[in-house]
Amino acid sequence: MERLFNFVYEYRAFFTFLALEVFCTWLIIENNQYQGTMYFNSANRVSANILNFSQGVKEYFSLRKINGDLAKENTLLLKKLERLNQSLYSLGTREVKDAAIINRYDFISAKVVNNSTSQFKNFITIDQGLIEAIKPGMAVIGALGAVGKVRAVSAHYAVVISLLNTDEQVSSIIKRTGYFGTIQWDGTDPRLTNLRYIPRHAKPVEGDTVVTSGYNSVFPGGVMIGIIKKINLKEEALFYDIKVELAQDFGNLTYVEVVKSNLKMEKDSLELNVVGPR
């Protein structure tokens, strides 16, 4: 027994090394699991405040750009509203009368305090949290398109798993044809993402719009993701290789909307009853 202790003592540096590395590996694996309850991330109070300060300084240099983007979004929304009004007027009625369906989604505006596009697994920190009833699993969209999904929340902040994260997958459809696939980033160019599992017979063309499908009730259906840039079909391949140019520029994200899906519980529990857990 004494010799064992002597042995451990002699190689104490190596054993400390081993213990620390095993602990780190456990942290990495634990952190990769989806939607865990975590404390040590950029949403905790100290780190979020520091990041908030550094973002505040940075923001002064892009105020003009932010203004322009917000104005652009405003005109887009006004145009949409006007079009809707016109169509309702000609119909003479509101098609959907159920208030629950009309108020399916609530939107909460939030400011981005931390963002990156150059890692393989990118996250975004926003300045709204539990106090605004934000929960893990909610969708986050920007002025121009989908941004990501909430992963962890603290009282005043939330960490969002960005579309530019190799672990993030979003169910989406090609708007023109209605075929659905999955958006998943490959970790290289932050302006391009990949659309997977579009079958051979779907015949997509360059310039087709890709939007969210709404199947998993995280994202509302029809949220813009991007435009097909390049299509490649290998011999014998079951699915297309499709590169999609993202509509939202992740490089200068400043304000985003968190989507609260009010009917998610109902839909999920219905599906769980019929199909069973997936």
Binding site: F17, L20, C24, N41
Partner: protein, 171 residues
Amino acid sequence: MNRSAIIQVFYFFLYLLVQVMLLKNLVLFNVSFCFLYVAYILLLPIDTNPLVLMVVGFLMGFMVDVFYDSLGLHACTVVMIAYLRNFWLASITPQGGYDAGAGPVIAANGFQWFIVYSLPLVFVHHFVLFFVEAGGFSVFWYTMLKVITSLFFTMTTIILLQYLFYDQRRL
């Protein structure tokens, strides 16, 4: 706690804050990163106890991880170079040995020696960091590009800082 330990604690937080507030936003061409905080571990005095080195390295890496949202990743790589550092220092001892209490810096041992000392360690750090983050070798050449360009960026910064803030003991 003596005076030099307090100075080291101050440097610890200085390196950490510079890393997470300034250098986190400074990524060249979307592939070239500057992980200057590695220099803190590399430049600690030569006679530092390896156990202390590893624990300090772990704390540094862990705190960087909190800001980068990559729990365990930086901690794992910094502990690795903290462990390798003293073996590497022992095997490249110059003739006549090191000065007692000196840091492994350019001012004490010369430019060439410093390159031989720091380049492999920084390379190991970046290599492990990017490949663990990528989760394997699936995008090998792109990850390799990140490793090499970041190596240049980090090394240039470490060397420039030593010439800018000239100090016999350490940066």
